[in-house]
Symmetry: C2
Subunit: 165 residues, 2 copies
DNA sequence: TTTTTATCTGTAATCATTACAGATTTGTTG
DNA sequence: CAACAAATCTGTAATGATTACAGATAAAAA
């Protein structure tokens, strides 16, 4: 997991100005254990920063992705892009039913990045390694292959449930 | 690369009816060398199938993804989801500037899928292994890290250029 | 053939993400 | 420290890919 200061330093080093908004977004990213969307970050920070604009959240996340400080995983069966604050090479397992993403340690991903680096001739800045489940094809859509306790909201291997829009 | 009959058979085996529309979409997927979007498939087939609906293309692609016959890679810097007809384990390199995706052979990805399969306890149906470039951060946005000949349209390691919407 | 049910089509939403323009900051310079 | 130029923010108004919907069609089964 990236720390708040690692994220803010990355922005600063890349030539971006450090503003209260950006600092708050970095702090939120570092504190969260899940794979937030722009909207969820905005909702969370809106409480303290009344005036924080959703546009600013999008801009900042985009900047962080471009400098390789965080990564964009794409959607998880919903229509929102999920971000990954943890840039340690690993696999992401996404559930298309509950839209949560779980991290899975993997040595093979390190090897992957070496391959990419070699093929492109430059350091890997960003990427997504996501495997998504076939929940949707199952008879009971609540039967999540990553956990059998999604329906009743019981704690499971994922974080909080985010309802489908 | 999947063949047309492999795709149609997959649909049939999964319990879907074989219709002329689905067959045409499968044929288009099998024939293309790039990583098409729903829109590009639709545009291509619209010429022969005047009445083919964009909705049908989306539905069919979604079905194919769900049964694991093709994969969804997410966006490539544009706002469209790109599909991957080639389900042989490999790495995808996406250029955020020209929105094209290149395949890169990789033994490590096979190992990845073994890890995922083991962790989830079931066969891997779908996933995305995409590394995206930092084109956008470069001084000259035309300087694509995967090829230096994007600007003038000269042939390069990617397929055809798809303009940003 | 008749029936049942899946699939198609065209159109009308939906809604995440971006574009924009003016108001605010930030960092810098004298 | 005041003044400036550039970057950043904010709120609102698009944009446009994708999805929802309902009636029309066509596939598989009886």
């Amino acid at each position: 997991m990236a720390t708040r200061s690692e994220l803010t330093s990355a922005l600063k080093d890349a030539g971006f100005r450090l503003t209260p908004q950006r600092t708050a977004i970095c702090a939120a990213l570092a504190a969260r254990e899940d794979h937030p969307t722009a909207q969820s970050i905005h909702e969370e920070l809106k409480q303290q920063y009344e005036s924080l604009s959703l546009t600013t959240v999008y801009q900042t996340l985009d900047s962080l992705v471009r400098i390789g400080a965080i990564r964009s995983l794409g959607t998880a069966g919903d229509d929102s892009v999920h971000y990954e604050p943890n840039i340690e090479p690993h696999i992401n397992l996404a559930c298309l039913t509950c839209h949560r993403i779980r991290d899975l340690e993997s040595e093979a991903v390190r090897e992957l990045e070496r391959e990419v680096s070699e093929a492109t001739g430059s350091k890997v800045l960003s990427g997504r390694v996501v495997y998504y489940s076939d929940c949707l094809l199952r008879a009971d859509p609540n039967e999540c292959p990553f956990s059998s306790k999604v329906a009743d909201g019981t704690a499971n291997t994922f974080g909080n449930v985010e309802p489908k829009r």
